[in-house]
Amino acid sequence: MRLRRGPTLSAYIWLSLGALYFIVPLFATLLFSLNKNSTGKCCTIASYTWVIHNGDFWHTLKISLLLAVETIVVSLLLFVPTIYWVHLKLPRLRPVIAFLALIPFVVPPIIMVIGLLKVYKGSPDWFYAKPWGFLVASYVILAFPYTFFSLDAGFRSIDVHTLTEASQSLGASWGTTLFKVILPNIRAAALSAAFLTLAVVLGEFTIANLSAFHTFPLFLQYVNETQAYPAAALTLMSFGLTWGAMLSLLLVGRKRGGSGGVFGGAR
């Protein structure tokens, strides 16, 4: 068999081109964020102090983080028992739910928000006019594919039937079975669902913008339009948040053995 020599060289060319394409914008943003507001020259950390001393920054970041936590809690409360039940008793429903989970890919946020605004129009003020109600409901739907595919993989890797029978023959109730037996076994899956949801919610712009709730991405956009250099600092911080969530996800996934194709998020 002939040894081929070509690919290694072209492989390195492709890889370095790819790497350049990804690193240059990040690096440029870093340089940009260090520029002085008055002169446009390097180097000062004024942009970062501006961000840290900005009340709106903390305010919107807090809103987004709280929204993320609430979305995660609601999603897990809703979907862990459901998917457990489907795996235990209704395995034939699984493909149907998997199909439903693809819907948010076909109906992107920009379409979804129109429908949601219409559907929820008649609902009471405490729900419709508050981010805690309307946005969380939207985000649970938006994050559903990620939650579902993570949890589904988790449930598939354990023996739901045996675990349930064992637990019940020892006299445990359904609640005890779910919380003390099933949940610890799918902890990694639940965690990766949570990190994905976190990344989705922290970056979500479309729905928040069109329903006029002031979340972190909206603050970012506002700064982008008004303050060039602090915006660069803020952009990097926001990338940092995404990095954090995704890297934690990959670490959790690695422990579970195999991370799978994880993609999507807010565009």
Binding site: P7, S10, W14, A28, I114, Q221, N224, T242
Partner: protein
């Protein structure tokens, strides 16, 4: 599953909106100026980024997964792609403004150091080309993520078998490699197309709505800008839905075919 009531309603809402008093006039309007133009722009941007992202992504993924490339390159690349495919929206748009915008770092570097002002030579980040460049930033890693398992599935034995039977590398690719990979590649490109087609926040952050994309138009209506007929936005959303649903219809059988060799 109760939350699926709203989700189902969204679909119905799109249908209702389409008829807007039970007429198809709004949908027919879509095929006229200026609405058809946004579809053309959207489809062009999605098509270009899907094909370009697909081709380069394939090359990068193949380069990284090649037997003679060190292992660490591969794990760095997959980790990084996993993260970068999730970059997007407002921060990504601004990162590119800081890089290639009119006072961006790279723009300034080219102008001051090399004496070449790209803005005087027809380049503009806040245009269709600009949007395409930015979209590629998440399209490329997505391609790498989606196609990597398929490339991994190209078994080494096949190449060895082919070369034992006297096939040249070109013959291997022509008769074995590409036919096996083709469904995966096409599927991935469709996925990329849909991904770009649905993107809103990135284009909005970049141009504040100056580029005529379908999602931007829909958004413009809903954030209160003028569009005389309120149902037209819903009709446009419906049009988007049709395009994406079509993509899904092509994607699913391709996916099934691609799964044939995945063991």
């Amino acid at each position: 599953m109760f939350l699926f009531l709203p989700a189902g309603n969204v679909m119905l809402g799109a249908f209702n909106g389409k008829h807007g008093g039970w007429t198809i006039a709004n949908v027919r309007l879509l095929f006229n100026h200026p609405y058809i133009d946004s579809y053309k722009t959207s489809i062009e941007v999605s098509g270009v980024t899907a094909l370009l992202g697909g081709a380069v992504g394939l090359a990068v993924a193949y380069a990284a997964l090649h037997e003679r490339t060190p292992r660490w390159v591969r794990s760095v690349l997959t980790t990084f792609s996993g993260v970068a495919a999730n970059f997007g929206g407002i921060p990504l748009a601004f990162a590119f403004i800081a890089t290639l915008g009119s006072i961006g770092i790279v723009t300034a570097f080219l102008r001051d150091q090399l004496g070449f002002n790209i803005y005087l030579h027809g380049f503009n980040l806040f245009s269709k080309t600009g949007v395409e460049i930015v979209y590629l930033y998440f399209q490329l890693p997505l391609m790498v993520l989606v196609i990597a398992p398929a490339i991994d599935g190209l078994r080494r034995e096949w190449r060895e078998a082919a070369s034992n039977l006297g096939a040249s590398p070109w013959q291997f690719w022509r008769y074995v490699g590409l036919p096996v990979l083709m469904p995966s590649i096409l599927g991935a490109i469709i996925l990329l197309f849909g991904n770009a087609f649905a993107a809103y926040a990135t284009a909005y952050g970049l141009t504040s709505g100056a580029v005529n994309l379908v999602p931007i138009q829909i958004g413009a209506y809903y954030s209160g800008n003028v569009l005389d007929n309120p149902h037209i936005a819903q009709a446009m959303a419906f049009g988007m839905f049709v395009v994406l649903a079509l993509m899904m219809l092509i994607y699913i059988p391709l996916q099934r075919r691609a799964a044939r060799w995945a063991k």
